[in-house]
Symmetry: C2
Subunit: 253 residues, 2 copies
Amino acid sequence: MATGRTHRPATRSRGIPEATVARLPLYLRALTALSERSVPTVSSEELATAAGVNSAKLRKDFSYLGSYGTRGVGYDVEYLVYQISRELGLTQDWPVVIVGIGNLGAALANYGGFASRGFRVAALIDADPAMAGKPVAGLPVRHTDELESIISDNGVSIGVIATPAGAAQQVCDRLVAAGVTSILNFAPTVLSVPDGVDVRKVDLSIELQILAFHEQRKSGEDAGQAVAPPPPLRSASDGRKGPDGDVPAVMPA
Amino acid sequence: MATGRTHRPATRSRGIPEATVARLPLYLRALTALSERSVPTVSSEELATAAGVNSAKLRKDFSYLGSYGTRGVGYDVEYLVYQISRELGLTQDWPVVIVGIGNLGAALANYGGFASRGFRVAALIDADPAMAGKPVAGLPVRHTDELESIISDNGVSIGVIATPAGAAQQVCDRLVAAGVTSILNFAPTVLSVPDGVDVRKVDLSIELQILAFHEQRKSGEDAGQAVAPPPPLRSASDGRKGPDGDVPAVMPA
DNA sequence: GAATGTGAATCTTTTCACAGCC
DNA sequence: GGCTGTGAAAAGATTCACATTC
């Protein structure tokens, strides 16, 4: 998903698999909960359950970070919290800007677990002059004109795009030009960015469509009252077929 | 991620890889845009670029659906739109409930591309009695008490959870008991559900943490003004080491 | 005895490269 | 000549199962 740097040729060693990186935040959240309940140690089995994965995977994941457990005992909760935080880069404070303060942008600004660990909302930015100065989540909304100066004044390297799809690429370009190198995109668009800039994407309708796919299979492969528009006719002849040759009933004529 | 059914033993054939399913919505969006511009056909190369993937992957993905292209020419845009929509189950209409109408829930309710293709917001549900009846995105908010009847009256099988973390599991249980079998979870919690129920998760802070991980590497493996709390001391001795034996400088004593 | 850490086996996904067709 | 469709190879991720350590 993320573009990422393609290099890092020599040295090796710090090659944590992407799939593992994506799970570290889950472990961290589960560990933080344990830490708050003052649980001193936890086994891979318990932690895995809390994080919603299986224990073999968790142990393999941790093995990429180092040997941070104790055989016969488990993991020291506080120690692991620290190690994972450090690995994720959360022992430093990341200033973040949110661009596009509509419903979604406001929701993000108000999101608590945000400021809580490693991230700080440096500014909320919107293109609507009527929004400028209005406080959202305790911060005054600033106008897009100020984008570049906000980025450089605060040393922002992470930007969140919550604008309408039409504005996203343009905002992205400005963020990148101003020095942002990681972008979290909530707009339903494919952003194009230069090498060295990471983009991650959160997209409601994609997630729903994936659910619909699986939901459809559950209903018995055929059931469900189709409300489909007639399939667009296709000039071509007869060569068309399903994957293994089993032609579905709904095939367009 | 999603729990999914583990079976589907015989028949085969309709075995579309999960990674492919996750990309179909991307292709569909790109194709819809082409369709609106009345572009009649598209090559794998062009479409791949528009969707942000490479063309070999796209062709492989499509090969799981069937042979829907024409060699030497490309793909018929309208025809592909229909085929992918059908595969994703979007040729029927999915009623969806959104539970938790805070900032985020309201943002989701207002999200346009939602109703546009295959999904219909059947109801907005919130636990706050003060919200009940208030219109959000043109729909009156209904109270949690009505959850079960709303689900069954509308034949809802997809639920979106946008509540605070503390309420999520409880809401989830009620949704599932009432007949929902696919859940999109925006609350930062691991939901536990019975077999046969799919859960997908969207989590802002996880995405940010993944970005932070990569961001950290860019800054030169060491740079950045650490604002770290002192690492929690650990009783244990000396056996600790990094992955390849290279002990990081920040190691706790 | 209990639980980690990790090679080896397995499964999934991506990429390559080219035969086949228009 | 151009572009799809797909076997085969390569890379990546997960699971198994057990030696190792406390």
